[in-house]
């Protein structure tokens, strides 16, 4: 015998009331309170009866009524131990990815699952898998359904993206250990199109499993912001921040109010007309900001009919400028001047390497973050070793191919670059086809920093790399600038030298910003990632001299191991401070935003993937008779037992009898 609401047993304490009624001394109605008994002192004193229960039967009746009613409210039930054939094993997958929040989809799906579970009998085994960032088993087949209901009730909507395939694999693993004659997966989802198409070519793995998928949603209007990009550019002493983001819309919003806030100030507030605009609009702006402070803020785009409002705010952070070190092994006067302290003070500290002392530099192991070298120096074996060391140690190298001799061509070949010597001396004209999405050239979309198309290259070397990413092409179609991807360090190769006879770039407005951005891009990574997705797991590096033992992000603590910490970003979008140990000042700031793909609210009606994942024509295992665990009794089963009814009836009968009895006694008195 168990109780559904054991706390109701506290009601038995109400027995104290009849106990007091039957123990108390009643006031004698024949008592006369007289002013004085000093003239009647010789009269006898009345005898006082000891404390004892009166009317035992009436008392017992009242106690019975109290106990019976308390027990009835506690709702007793009996757990049957007889074996039950399990007809069906059923796994519910609740899609708790960010896209399912649209139109309150997660809450509706959760309520649907709770309703279905409460109506199921004990011959159906139930498990529930929640799909957030990763599939989580909320309740296995043996778990208590009441506890499961509580877990479902406490479920919070997630802002993460999780894989449908992973959820099905988790459900399949549960079903493999189930007893049910019939196996079934019920997927409560929004049927997001990009999720179903993502793993459509996965090999079949569902055997004898019936898959039911909730009907797709109607198309919902959504407007979202994603991909924040911030960069600092220095124009003389001015530190400019360029910010860009992508605004996606499905055409249902005619216009939106865009507001940009940074460090508590509204920098931009503008109504954006979206009619006849492409589905993805690139937003870009810039403002002047202190180079020594963190930048954090948010961009919002409001639209009243939005089904998914959480992706209408985009958070961003950017660190302050940290002075980098650059080693220069170049004869170009323009390059040396551009990297001199007068120009790059506060941003870059340049160390000029004496060509005669490259071996000393090689021996010192005091490398800068970026090495700027002209290809002519690659004739020296020490220079080649130095470049190789920079690249293999994860540092950056900017290589200007000002001269290509056979020895240099050999050195370039070691780096995976083929130099085509006949092209040397060819006039290539202006820069064309610039990869404007690349971090180096992204800010140049704004005309404020000059027009790269005006830069002329008079002479260049035709270079080819199997492992490289072209960034700038010349009018002849040759690659003038590319990024090597062979090494851990970043290699930026320029097919011309920064001399006056080879290019007009050093004299152009764009040169200093380009050089600064190129150096920033090539410097070792570690702190360049400050924008993450909700629930993302990442590794952060602590400063080498740090003795911190733990890292705190949004209230959660993570252990530090070998100056690195693996952290998990919070589930909710926002700006979070990262602090080491109990330091008051935050060391870094992270912005956390929902996954952009989850904002694409395109749905499919009959997804192809479940059919592909299912193995056809195989007979399922023979059903095994299992004993239903006692805790698996559903509330419906408990309500079907009528113990509470009989107890309530007994309590009422006792109460009625007591009332009649008491009335009769009063009439007698």
């Amino acid at each position: 015998m168990s109780l559904l609401f054991p706390l109701a047993l506290l009601g038995i304490a109400a027995i104290a009331a009849p106990l007091w009624l039957h123990l108390r001394r009643k006031t004698d109605p024949r008592l006369i309170r007289f002013s004085t008994l000093r003239f009647l002192q010789d009269s006898p004193s009345p005898e006082r009866r000891p404390l004892r229960l009166r009317d035992i039967l009436l008392f017992a009746l009242r106690c019975l009524a109290v106990v019976a009613l308390a027990l009835a409210f506690a709702w007793p039930f009996v757990r049957e131990s007889k074996p039950t054939i399990i007809r069906e094993s059923r796994v519910y997958i609740l899609d708790n990815t960010f896209s399912h929040q649209a139109n309150d989809g997660v809450a509706k799906a959760r309520d649907r699952i709770m309703r279905e579970i409460s109506s199921l009998g004990s011959d159906v085994q139930v498990a529930v898998v929640e799909l957030a960032g990763a599939p989580i088993v909320l309740a296995g087949f043996g778990d208590d359904r009441l506890a499961l209901e509580q877990k479902l009730r406490d479920l919070q909507p997630s802002h993460q993206r999780g894989s449908y395939l992973a959820a099905f694999r988790q459900a399949n693993a549960l079903l493999e250990n189930s007893f049910g004659e019939k196996k079934r997966i019920i997927f409560q989802t929004d049927n997001q199109e990009n999720q179903w198409t993502e793993h459509v070519h996965t090999a079949p793995f569902l055997q004898n499993t019936e898959v039911s998928i909730s009907p797709p949603l109607a198309k919902l209007a959504n407007l979202s912001l994603a991909f924040p990009k911030l960069q600092r550019i220095f124009l003389g002493e001015k530190s400019i921040v360029t910010f860009s983001a992508k605004l996606s819309h499905d055409g249902s919003a005619p216009r939106t109010e865009v507001v940009l806030k940074a460090d508590g100030q509204v920098l931009l507030s503008k109504t954006l007309d979206l009619e006849r605009k492409p589905e993805t609009v690139s937003l870009q702006t810039e403002w002047e900001a202190d180079a020594n402070r963190w930048i954090s803020g948010e961009l919002t785009a409001q639209y009243a009919g939005d089904a998914l409002a959480s992706d209408n705010t985009l958070y961003f952070t950017h660190p302050p400028v940290r002075e980098g070190t650059v080693a220069v092994l170049a004869q170009s006067a323009y390059l040396r001047l551009a990297l001199s302290p007068e120009v790059m003070r506060g941003h870059w500290g340049a160390r000029m390497i004496d060509p005669a002392k490259i071996s000393e530099q090689l021996a010192s192991e005091n490398d800068a973050e970026v090495l700027c070298i002209e290809s002519g120096y690659l004739q020296s074996p020490d220079a080649r070793k130095l470049v190789w060391r920079y690249l293999t140690n994860g540092r950056g190298v900017i290589l200007a191919a000002n001269r290509v001799s056979p020895a240099v061509a050999g050195a370039l070949r070691e780096l995976g670059i083929e130099a085509d010597s006949p092209a040397e001396g060819k006039r290539s004209g202006n820069l064309v086809y610039i990869a404007s999405n690349h971090p180096i050239f992204h800010p140049f979309r704004s005309p404020d920093y000059g027009n790269l198309g005006e830069v002329k290259v008079h002479r260049h070397t035709r270079l080819r790399a199997a492992q490289g990413m072209p960034l700038v092409f010349g009018e002849s179609g040759d690659v003038l600038l590319f990024q090597g991807t062979r090494f851990p360090g970043k290699l930026l190769v320029c097919s011309f030298g920064f001399e006056r006879e080879q290019t007009s770039w050093p004299l152009h407005l764009t040169f200093i910003p380009f050089l600064d951005l190129a150096l920033q891009h090539c410097r070792p990574t570690g702190e360049d990632g400050n924008n993450f997705e909700c629930g993302e797991t990442t590794t952060i590096s602590l400063p080498q001299n740090s003795s911190a033992r733990e890292v705190t992000v949004g209230g959660a603590r993570f252990a530090v191991n070998n100056a690195t910490a693996q952290i998990r970003l919070p589930d909710k979008p926002g700006i979070y401070e990262v602090s080491f140990d109990s330091a008051a000042e935050p060391a870094r700031r992270f912005s956390v935003n929902p996954p952009p793909r989850e904002s694409q609210l395109g749905y499919v009606s009959n997804p192809e993937a479940p059919a592909i994942w299912t193995v056809p024509n195989e007979k399922g295992p023979v059903a095994q008779a299992g004993t239903v665990p006692a805790s698996a009794l559903s509330r419906t089963d408990i309500f079907r037992q009528h113990w509470w009814w009989w107890l309530a009836l007994a309590g009422l009968v006792a109460l009625v009898t007591e009332m009649l009895w008491s009335s009769a006694r009063k009439a007698q008195i």
Binding site: I32, R33, F34, L37, S43, P46
Partner: protein, 309 residues
């Protein structure tokens, strides 16, 4: 005095209805009801104006108010004399009320408890005294407290309200406290005064008697209003009951028929002892029944008051 009460006041006394008094709200109204009725009966009585009558002469001294100079005497005898009046020689009255628990007793025929009766008489007399430009004060021990409430005597009109409030706050509680109350009175009252004591005197007589003797020794005049219920004086109970002492909580099984004679014998002896004591101390002793007209007590008071003129 006796003639006065039996005169026009007879009708007033006969017309007194305890139910009317019980129905009146507020001590102020009750006191006025009693006193106005009483004074209406005294309209032609010898007591009228006794407090504003001429007393004697004294020689004129520079600075005296010339309004009080007897010009006729000056014309006749060529002497400058100032007339003196009785009201210039008024005395101080102290109202002392016993609040022991026995004062809470109310018999079946009474309009209120003994304390209600004491309150009413005290309020009526206060109103009367203040109207006659006498100074009235009060000493009480309320609800078994140790520290007495003391109102300094005064002739101001506001004194009546002050004393009424104090009287209304009195609650019967605790055991015998009369001896203590008298001791407080001796300690607090220094000048010769008239003490109006309201009590049922149902306490051990020795300590209280000592207190009365000390009061007398200090030169105070005392008028004792002993308030008793008809149940106490006649013990009219018939059925056997459990009696509980209001002050001690003691309980006794009483068969009235069997003990009535003994009770009345002891009660009369007790009353006789008080009478003997007050007679010896030359104190006025006025027994007031709770179902009786309070005007009787007032008449008795006035006759005593006349003695002190």
């Amino acid at each position: 005095m006796k003639t006065t009460i039996q005169g026009r006041n007879r009708r007033l006394i006969e017309e007194f209805d305890p139910r009317t008094l019980a129905a009146l709200e507020g001590l102020d109204l009750k006191a006025r009801y009693v006193m106005e009725g009483f004074l209406a009966g005294l309209h032609q009585s010898p007591f009228h104006g006794f407090s504003v009558e001429f007393s004697d002469y004294r020689n004129y001294q520079p600075g005296d108010d010339l309004r009080h100079l007897d010009w006729r005497l000056y014309a006749r005898s060529d002497r400058l004399c100032i007339k003196r009046y009785l009201q210039e020689t008024n005395v101080r009255f102290y109202v002392v009320v016993d609040t022991s628990a026995s004062m809470a007793y109310r018999g079946s025929g009474a309009w209120g408890s003994k304390l209600d009766h004491a309150r009413l008489l005290a309020a009526a007399l206060t109103w009367f005294l203040l109207r006659q430009n006498d100074a009235a004060g009060m000493i009480t021990l309320s609800g078994g407290e140790e520290v007495p409430k003391f109102i300094r005597p005064s002739q101001r009109p506001s004194q009546f309200g002050l004393m009424l409030r104090q009287l209304e706050q009195l609650t019967p509680a605790g055991g015998a406290c009369l001896a203590k109350l008298i001791q407080h009175t001796i300690r607090l009252v220094h000048r010769r005064s008239i003490i109006l004591l309201f009590s049922d005197l149902l306490e051990p007589a020795d300590d209280v008697a000592l207190g009365f003797k000390q009061l007398r020794f200090h030169g105070h005049e005392c008028i004792i209003f002993q308030i008793l219920d008809r149940d106490e004086t006649e013990f009219p109970f018939t059925e056997a009951r459990v009696f509980q002492d209001l002050e001690t909580g003691q309980e006794r099984n009483i068969t009235p028929a069997a003990v009535r004679a003994t009770y009345l014998e002891r009660f009369n002896a007790f009353m006789e002892a008080w009478r003997e004591l007050f007679r010896g101390l030359e104190m006025a002793h006025c027994v007031v029944q709770t179902d009786d007209n309070p005007g009787r007590a007032l008449a008795r008071f006035l006759s005593e008051r006349r003695k002190y003129k």
